[in-house]
């Protein structure tokens, strides 16, 4: 899938906004939202929040996980752990990008937050590359990747599945006794690794 499609899926997440207008409840197909009261926070889907923000009809309340302290902890933990840590939000990158892009002025320290989220992303991507390398070297055809977000998974497509397909094809050609480790490997850094 294309990154914009992942973004599209991420846009369904619910976040909090403070509208500057008052309106009755609105009944959407994906649920009912409101009533809108000027100055009082309420929950809406991200796409609606961005749209209202662009029309300058609301302020976006930064989600809890997007606070500097929480992000610092997250980054430290991500650095310390061999495994992927569970992210506070399954679409953290999408949410951060959209909120910081459309509503940077609503978020205190938006520049620092942007940098630290990018750092977390970079640490995770480098772990992902190392695990992919290990998986391919062990000739595995199965891996477990708990806690990876959709955007992260999508970023290794089509490379990883295609490489595994090719490896399988080569193995089928060779058809000679397999090393004992075949199919046994898991993503060494993903979640609890005893899965097979």
């Amino acid at each position: 899938m294309d990154p914009y499609e992942i973004e599209f899926i991420g846009e369904n997440r619910i976040i909090s906004i403070i509208p500057n207008f008052s309106y009755d409840k609105i009944y959407l197909i994906c649920g009912e939202f409101g009533p809108f009261r000027a100055g009082l926070p309420l929950n809406v889907p991200l796409w609606l929040a961005i749209m209202l923000k662009q029309k300058q009809k609301c302020r976006i309340v930064p989600p809890d996980w997007m606070e500097m302290d929480n992000l610092e902890n997250l980054k430290e933990e991500e650095k310390r752990s061999r495994f992927f840590t569970k992210m506070p939000n399954a679409h953290y990158m999408v949410e951060a990008k959209l909120i910081l892009g459309a509503a940077g002025d609503d978020i205190p320290n938006s520049a620092e937050i942007k940098t630290i989220i990018k750092d977390i992303w970079d640490i995770r991507m480098s772990k992902l590359r190392t695990s992919m390398d290990a998986l391919m070297k062990s000739g595995g055809s199965y891996g477990r990747l708990d806690h990876l977000t959709m955007m992260e998974i999508n970023s290794v497509k089509p490379l990883l599945p295609a490489a595994m397909d090719d490896l399988l094809r080569i193995q089928m050609m060779a058809k000679k006794p397999a090393p004992a480790s075949l199919n046994n490997s898991t993503f060494s850094q993903s979640g609890n690794s005893q899965n097979v």
């Binding site: 197909i29 994906c30 199965y142 998974i153 397999a178």
Partner: protein
């Protein structure tokens, strides 16, 4: 004006389903995008959603153009239409690409009442194949020596690669998924815990995708 009531009413009536229908549709779209083969159609969901969209559009037209609600509703409808269009297009692409095996398998499935294609998709597939054949005949086959003129369906067939690797998330715990060892002697069993994510071959989990126990990601 009874507009407010109208919108409210339509939603109350469908309240139990509208949101669920949308979610089902979205996961069907995601699976269809990511699975190598064609999946059983969810025409019930598509039809239901199209009805809902029409109803909404009629109501939006009654609103003044500048009304904020109108633009919000329009935006939501565009998002849903995108999912439906993309879903149907993805299916048509697969039907064109794997036309011959899909038709062959579909004939058996229709007999047992477990068809994957909607009647119109089936018709489209048949016509596509006929057109392909007549096109090849007029352009090439009729102009080559007699012994090379036959249209050999089996040699034209393109099959989806079911052994390709896919990413998935388990919607519920599934125990004992057998990963076939290509050398045939050391099959492995794995358990998919609810919420866990994996990369593995499509073939052993194809049925789990079709019955909704796992979601492709």
């Amino acid at each position: 004006m009874d507009l407010e009531d109208d919108i409210e009413f339509s939603n109350d009536e469908e309240e139990i389903t509208a949101d669920t229908v949308l979610k089902t549709l979205q996961s069907a779209w995601q699976n269809e995008r990511l699975a190598p083969e064609i999946l059983p159609h969810r025409n019930d969901m598509v039809e239901c959603m199209l009805g809902q969209i029409q109803h909404m559009e009629r109501n939006i037209n009654k609103l003044p153009k500048t009304d904020l609600r109108a633009s919000i509703h329009k935006m939501e409808l565009s998002r849903i239409k995108f999912i439906i269009c993309n879903y149907l297009k993805t299916r048509l692409n697969k039907i064109e690409k794997y036309c011959i095996p899909i038709l062959n398998e579909e004939k058996q499935r229709i007999d047992s009442g477990t068809n994957y294609l909607t009647p119109s998709e089936y018709k489209y597939a048949q016509e596509y194949l006929l057109n392909l054949e007549s096109h090849l005949k007029t352009v090439v086959l009729n102009k080559v020596p007699n012994n090379m003129q036959t249209f050999e369906m089996s040699k034209m067939a393109v099959y989806p690669n079911l052994q390709t690797h896919v990413f998935l998330q388990a919607n519920e715990t599934v125990n004992g998924v057998v990963l076939e060892d290509i050398f045939g002697d050391q099959d492995e069993e794995i358990d998919l815990e609810e919420g866990s994510q994996h990369i593995l071959q499509y073939k052993p989990i194809a049925d789990l995708v079709k019955n909704g126990k796992v979601q492709l990601i």
